[in-house]
Symmetry: C2
Subunit: 343 residues, 2 copies
C-alpha cells in the first residue's frame, strides 16, 4: 500500500481541483491511500474508504513570502502534509502551492541528504522523440556552483532511472555551445566534474547541450543553474502559448478558416494531446530526506492527478533509496569536488 | 546613398544565398550601394550598377576558432567587410559567418564605444502582440555584471528607438520572478541600477520580467546575461521546431489527415508567415564604433535580405549616433556604476 499526503488547499483552485483529482487517482490505483490535508469543512466533497482527512487550520497563499509560510503559518496544509512524510505516515507529499514556500518548508522539516548542499526542482518536458527530457534545476537555486551541478546530475540520474526505468540515463550540461571550451568558468568546471564522474561510472555524461536539445531529446537529463532553467522553461511556455494563440486566431478569422478548423480539429487536438503540458505535471523536489512533489499552481483535475501519479510512481519505486544510493556511490567524488576551492 | 559591406562568403551557403539576397535588396532599395566582399571568382553571379566587388582571399569557416579567424586569416571576407566600416567606405557590415569570430574581429578593428565594456548581440523575436521584442545579450557575454546589464539596457533602448521608432521603449530585466527581491545578487543589483537610470530619465524601466514575457510582448526590450539569453533563444527555437514537426507528423498520418492538411494549409501558412523567424533575421552587434549586423548562418535568401534590410535601416537612421548619444547621456550613471565595487 502506498500512502500519499495531499495538500488539498494549495494551488490556484484548491479543493475544487484537488478533491476530484484525488478521487480519480484513487479509482486508478487500488493499492493507494490518500491523506487529505486541509480545513475539514472544505474537504467534505470526497468520502472514500482509502482517503482520510488530516486537519490543518491554515493555508499558504500563492503570494505569501517564504518567511510567513515558514514561521507564521505552522499549521498550514502544506506543512502538515510534509510533516506526514517526516513522520513516516506517508511516503510522499504533493502540493500545488507556492514553490518557494514548499521548498523552504520541505527543507526545514525534512533536511537535505548527506552530500547534497541544495535540493533541486526537476521536471519533465516533452521532446520531439515522443519521450520526455528531465530538466533540473528549475528555479530553486540561483548562482549554482559546479559542485551543485554535479549533485543535480547525480540526483537527476536517480529520478530518471526510477520514473523512466532507464538504468544509465544520459546527462547533458546546458551550455551555449557544444564545445567543451564554451561557457562561464563555473560551467567549464562543471563539465570537468561531470566527465570525472563519468570516468568512475557514477554518470553517463554526454557533454554540453544547448537550449534546443531539451526539446530535441538529445539526452535524458539536462542539468543547469536554476536561474537558467527557469528562464528556459518559461520562455518555452511563452513560445508554445504564442503559437497556440496564433493558431486559434488564424482559424477564427473568417467563415472559411472556421470551416477549415472543423476539418483540422481532430489532427490539431491529437497534436495538443501529445504536447499537453498537463501530462508532464508534477516536479520532484530532489535532495531531501523525503519525497515531495510540486504541481503547477494552475493545474486542473487531469494535471493534478498526473502529479499524484508521479509521486505514487516515485514512492512505489523507492526513489528516495535510489537517490540516496546514487549519492552515496558518488560520495567520494562529491566530497572531493566540494573540497576544491572555487576559483 | 547608403553603402553596406557584405561578407558574401559567410554562412552555411555562402554566395549561393548572399548574392541572390543582395540582388533583391538592391532592387528594393534604389538608394543603396553594396560592396560585395569575397573571392572574386565566386562573386561573378551578381553584376549590378550599384554593386562592386572587393577582393578578399580568405574565408572564415563556421567552425574556425576565434584565434584562427582573428590572427591567421587577415584577408578574410569577414574582416575586409568590417574594415570597410572602419575606413568609412561603408556605413554598416553584414555577415552570416561564425558569431564568435565576427564579434572578435569587429571588436578588434572597430573598438568599443566609450562607456561600454562589452559589446552585445541584440535580436528581435516575434511576440503575441503582433510586434517584436528585442532581446540582448544573446551569447556574446557570459557572467555579465549589473553594470554590463545597464549598458545593454541603454544600447537596446537606442536600437529600438531607431528600428521601431519608439522614443521611450520599455525595458524589462529578465529574472525568475516579478518581485524585486528575486534572483541572484547581480540581478538584484542590476535592478537597482536600472531603477536609478529610470529615475534620471535615461531609461523607461518596467521592472523584472520572466521568460514567457519575451513572447507575450510585455516590454519592448528584455535585458539579460548572454548565457541566459542564448539558452532562452535556443530553447524557444527548440519548442517551435517541435511543434511544427509535430504538426507535419500529425497531418501526414493518414489519407484523412492529409486531406485535412490541404484544407488547413492556407490558415497554417498564414500563421507560419506571421511567426517566420526569417522575418526577424539580422542581429545587431551593439557597443562598437561602427555598425555590424549578424545574419543566422543557415539563412536563406529571404532571411539574408532581411538582415541587409536591418543594417540599411540602422545606417539610414544613424543608429551609431543614437547609441553614442544615449550612452553619453547615461555616462555619469554608467561611470558611477562602474566605480562601485562588485560584491
Amino acid at each position: 500500500m502506498i500512502t500519499l499526503a495531499v495538500d488539498c488547499m494549495g494551488g490556484d483552485h484548491g479543493p475544487d481541483v484537488t478533491l476530484p483529482a484525488c478521487r480519480q487517482f484513487l479509482e486508478h490505483h487500488p493499492d493507494a491511500r490518500l491523506l487529505l490535508v486541509g480545513q475539514p469543512a472544505s474537504l467534505q466533497g470526497l468520502v472514500h474508504e482509502r482517503a482520510s482527512v488530516i486537519a490543518a487550520s491554515e493555508v499558504v497563499a500563492m503570494d505569501d513570502p517564504v518567511e510567513v509560510a515558514l514561521r507564521r503559518k505552522k499549521d498550514s496544509s502544506m506543512r502538515v502534509a510534509i510533516q506526514q512524510v517526516k513522520d513516516g505516515t506517508a511516503q510522499a507529499a504533493v502540493s500545488a502551492g507556492n514553490t518557494g514556500a514548499l521548498m523552504a518548508i520541505a527543507r526545514y522539516l525534512l533536511k537535505t541528504l548527506e552530500g547534497i548542499d541544495r535540493p533541486a526542482i526537476a521536471t519533465q518536458l516533452p521532446n520531439a522523440q515522443g519521450g520526455a527530457t528531465t530538466v533540473l534545476d528549475l528555479g530553486a537555486n540561483v548562482d549554482c556552483t559546479a559542485e551543485h551541478l554535479l549533485q543535480f546530475a547525480v540526483m537527476g540520474s536517480a529520478l530518471v532511472s526510477v520514473l523512466q526505468e532507464r538504468d544509465e540515463p544520459l546527462v547533458g550540461l546546458l551550455n551555449i555551445g557544444e564545445e567543451a571550451i564554451k561557457g562561464s568558468e563555473e560551467i567549464k568546471k562543471a563539465g570537468e566534474l561531470l566527465r570525472s564522474a563519468a570516468n568512475v561510472g557514477d554518470l553517463n555524461f554526454h557533454g554540453n547541450v544547448e537550449g534546443n536539445d531539451i526539446f530535441k531529446g538529445t539526452v535524458d537529463i539536462v542539468v543547469c543553474d536554476g536561474f537558467v532553467g527557469n528562464v528556459a522553461l518559461k520562455a518555452s511556455e511563452g513560445v508554445a502559448a504564442m503559437i497556440v494563440g496564433g493558431l486559434k486566431q488564424e482559424f477564427s478569422r473568417s467563415i472559411f478558416t472556421k470551416m477549415a478548423a472543423i476539418v483540422a480539429y481532430p489532427v490539431l487536438s491529437a497534436l495538443m494531446r501529445r504536447m499537453d503540458h498537463r501530462r508532464y505535471n508534477g516536479a520532484a523536489l530532489l535532495g531531501l530526506r523525503g519525497l515531495v512533489f510540486k504541481s503547477h499552481g494552475s493545474a486542473d483535475v487531469l494535471a493534478f492527478e498526473q502529479a499524484l501519479n508521479r509521486a505514487y510512481d516515485a514512492a512505489r519505486n523507492n526513489l528516495l533509496d535510489r537517490v540516496r544510493a546514487r549519492v552515496a556511490h558518488a560520495a567520494p567524488l562529491l566530497a572531493a569536488a566540494d573540497a576544491q576551492p572555487t576559483p
